[in-house]
Symmetry: D2
Subunit: 150 residues, 4 copies
């Protein structure tokens, strides 16, 4: 997956907010960065999470997440977070996150957010067509133009 | 103010999440603890922030906050956050937060959250009677029974 | 695993800090709570992470974490986080975290933190005896007295 | 102060991490953004906080912070944080933070971080020459070249 172009990316420098008394990344710090990257991508594609239920009759929630810490990083390291789509199933899909230290282009962390589609009342539902068209396009590396989104 | 009994309190131990590579408290870490203490207090008094607008026709928002860092604290220090009410004005009021290191009962930090009451559409409005009755009772150190709250 | 007694636990009420505009738990919010619980447990057992390298010649770092979101929880829900030990390998071990809503005792989230032992310079090293004695005792549900820790 | 050019700035889009069930900015969310901006500025000027004590015999700590919330902002609003220097005293100085919504260039929040210089053992000390030269240059809007920093 890492050799395909990312769908979206975000750069930032690790600061005191992201690190802890061990002098390295606080393990929970990657998660908000992954969320920022992924939420912005959905928003850029007309899939504004907080309006999906009202506008499209479905919603999505995170059902699983995980992260591997591959290389220690610390204060003031500059990071590029890259977003790709992973496995797309019938009722859920995975968004893949690579954390790359820009100084040496090393993959320092790797995360996954599994999202399940649900009805407005919260029951699991097959991925609706609107979202599936986007996911298929992302898998092929050709995002739909944003104005195609209803 | 510090010699009156607190309205409410919360104890916790500083962990990696609260501290930074300097080995001491991350300056922003007090704010979520102050919010937890204050939100729970309002909730305990029947003033659930997320239902005020619908149930009582007003809402409240934070318009100012501040914090003094008096004594350095670090990893695994045990803290008691104490809540008191401060100045009560016509359209806003201050909630006062004391952060006390329990080991030696020293006041290590001091915060303030200024809250302004607003209409559901967001304009400043005088503090409504329902809330003023609570604030007056808090100033006098005699919170209303929760079941008195409508 | 969930039917054994937890090694340690922590109770808290979800507040604005833990929740997001969807009105439910922010997915990253469980991780700092899990860290608090686990860090305090190691600290209670004389295994203060920030002093391991200096005192015992090894250190430990998180190499993997994951979390399952089983039941939606929201503002003001009261949670009990429970800590257990999971798989203990030659060079790494898993700490298991259960998030239980106290109102109905439902398991609402489940997390895992995989820790690898490293030399002070950061290379993977077999779990040292000091730590292994603790882990073995935790697996058997009989933590060593804290004063046994050197 | 707001009509002088900022010393440094940082742009970001508010995400779920920054907002809460009220649908607006979580009040504590500005503080880590202010810290990121300010820490990067000191780092860019050769004043790496975590090395000041070892290299220059002094250190600095935050002794006070405050923030005004001027205009409600919410999910996906795009923000520019601007850094300026404020009052410079004998033993402390203020860094000023403006939060501007880029869409309409409105000042939506305003923060201040007061920093006091201390000896390595933590006692207040007059601002050392090295730092004062930088502060004077910042007040005049002409930062010293980074390579001038020892």
């Amino acid at each position: 997956m890492s050799d395909t172009a990312p769908l979206h990316q975000l750069e930032f420098r690790l600061s005191y907010a992201d690190t802890d008394p061990a002098g390295i990344l606080y393990y929970a710090a990657w998660f908000p960065w992954m969320e920022r990257l992924q939420s912005e991508w959905f928003w850029m594609n007309g899939l504004r999470q907080d309006q999906l239920a009202a506008e499209h009759g479905f919603w999505s929630v995170t059902c699983h997440t995980e992260c591997d810490y591959l290389v220690p990083v610390g204060l003031f390291d500059h990071i590029r977070a890259e977003l790709r789509v992973g496995r797309v199933g019938r009722r859920s899909f995975d968004m893949l996150h690579h954390l790359v230290r820009t100084e040496d282009q090393r993959l320092v962390g790797r995360g996954l957010i599994r999202v399940v589609t649900v009805t407005p009342s919260g029951e699991s539902t097959p991925i609706p067509d609107l979202l599936r068209r986007h996911l298929d396009a992302w898998v092929q590396g050709h995002p739909l133009p944003a104005d195609v989104s209803p």
